[in-house]
Symmetry: C2
């Protein structure tokens, strides 16, 4: 049993190497063990490319016949995808036993992979470190089961709950260590999202610079479609994709075209009279675009909308060691929101609250 | 050397038993050691009563002649006080050696006690765990050296920096564990202070109920002298003393008398036209009244005044795990205040920030 946990943990570690590159696929790692010796390892490296099991088999230094395959997710059996299914390969290669952490929640697989293996006489164990496996693939699990991206909110505020000292310009509130964590989050999420006001006051790039990683798609919420295309996010298309979500009844064809001419994708959605778009409509759009994870970086209105709709998964609040004593509140809500604080830690001089809904 | 630290630490532990009862005197513990054995212990138990050294000598099971006296503060030599000085007693009892943590900052003693002991041929060592000794007696050291009470600010807020959801009524923001810590602070400080608005919205008792201890003097700041005497603090005189600080030009003799008739001490101080009294004038008044420590519990205006004046020593912020999203800000300042966060810890469900200026 301890052996199972050890190799499944190794699968998790391998799987994590795919963070940022495999979405909307899950993170998967695979280890092949024969005579108590690892003979092959692999992970799913990039969306559209080979699965972890295939890579592990190909990387094996010995014949895999009679070996045990460890894999954090159930091997696939369906062919509704870009690469051939893994189960037939496992059978063909005469793998003797398969040990799995999670069944694939995808209804095309969900248990069918295990059934197919068992039917042919392959020994299968499931549920090893199940919770850790679900945590690793929390984006995928939510996306598949709820048809919504996993939502991580992040804000930097002063100890007295201000995200900026003034409406007009940015107050830089977090230290270099916190910035690194934020860039790591950008790398791991499919999309980074901010509202129009954040673009106007901070003019951020929203790319990954402080750590090694790939840039997420930048999604800008601008219901009233008031932003000009002078901002950085609209002029750095070669670095990262930018999408603009606007209210249908605030969007003229000409303006849309002027953004599209710069390579920006514009998505008009229905809204209320003030150009406010329902969060669920935004999430529906993103899910249709195969976005499994959303990193929301501001500002007050966007945070407040997610909290009021009660649609979010995790909230990270970086508290900068200062009292601003005036400025923009982190949130403006009609009703208080009780929170479950999962962890409080120091990152440089900042205090990081990790909150799970 | 390790022996010295061990017995001085024991002095600290003994001294702490005097917390809440010896002010404006310092906290002092004494240990008498003969042939590597503790033969007597004592501490300063109550203002006006015997000093630690005297108690330790009196409690000794053996003759103290030839013994070593450990004491966290320099023995006194002056007689400008309620009890006879300790140095002559030490000499009379033929104590051989005296080991001290801190010299007494009081100019009536400061080194003179040590000199008198040395002069008679008694061996004296000083400076053992000096910083810990100063920390233990931080109220006394500040009071003596700066002629101002030590100031501890405490607030309970939501994670988004609100001390209340509404102007009109109290929002209960901290859990039972935090409440205990607050009551412990009330016990250890000479005075607990709040502004008139806190009295009006919370109608607090400001006594020590959650832990064993003595009640501090309750000082209410009401520049404009608008409070009626219907509130709890003005009707529980048998439990704790209440002082009222008001602006001179807002205070009629008749109203003062009506409070005095209830046993409330009223202190009229000069103010600006709006009845705002300078913090330094308040501190001067308190120092004249021999108040060595001040525990400030609210509200927004009082906190902000202390922060703007930059006159405070420690700040404790209890953050309740919720977002209020509206309400009263913890502070209203014209300028941001950078902070040094000394420690962040959990107390029940709350997160406690301990900040030292």
């Amino acid at each position: 049993m301890e052996e199972n946990s050890k190799y499944i943990k190794r699968c998790f570690t391998l799987a994590e190497k795919g963070v940022g590159f495999v979405s909307p696929n899950p993170l998967v790692g695979a280890v092949i063990v024969k005579d108590d010796k690892v003979i092959g390892e692999g992970f799913h490296q990039k969306y559209g490319e080979a699965h972890a099991e295939v890579n592990a088999i190909e990387n094996s230094k010995e014949d895999v016949a009679g070996a045990t395959l460890f894999c954090n997710l159930e091997p696939c059996v369906h062919d509704k995808k870009q690469t051939p299914p893994c189960v037939p390969l496992i059978i063909e290669k005469k793998i003797k036993k398969v040990v799995i952490s999670n069944l694939d929640p995808n209804p095309e697989v969900n248990g069918k992979g295990v059934d197919a293996l068992k039917k042919i006489g392959i020994d299968v164990e499931t549920g090893i470190l199940e919770e850790e496996g679900k945590e690793l693939n929390k984006f995928y699990f939510k996306f598949i089961s709820q048809k919504q991206p996993y939502i991580t909110l992040k804000l930097a505020q002063s100890i007295d709950g201000k995200i900026s000292a003034s409406k007009k310009e940015q107050t830089w509130l977090s230290g270099p260590e916190s910035k690194k964590i934020v860039h790591q989050f950008r790398h791991s999420h499919d999309v980074v999202m901010v509202g129009a006001k954040t673009i106007r006051t901070d003019n951020p790039l929203l790319t990954v610079r402080e750590v090694k990683g790939r840039n997420p798609i930048r999604v800008i919420l601008d219901g009233k479609f008031l932003l000009s295309h002078s901002y950085k996010v609209f002029n750095t298309n070669s670095e990262a994709e930018t999408w603009l979500i606007v209210a249908e009844n605030f969007s003229g064809k000409k303006k849309i075209k002027s953004f599209e001419a710069r390579g920006i994708k514009v998505f008009p959605l229905k809204s209320d009279r003030d150009g406010k778009i329902n969060i669920t409509d935004i999430l529906k759009l993103l899910a249709e675009q195969k976005i499994t994870s959303l990193f929301v970086e501001g500002g007050q209105q966007v945070f407040s909308q997610f909290l009021e709709a009660n649609i979010w998964d995790e909230l990270f609040i970086f508290q900068s060691p200062r009292i601003l004593g005036q400025g923009i509140n982190s949130f403006e809500l009609n009703n208080a929101v009780p929170l479950k604080i999962h962890e409080v830690s120091k990152t440089g001089d900042d205090i990081l609250f990790h909150i799970i809904r």
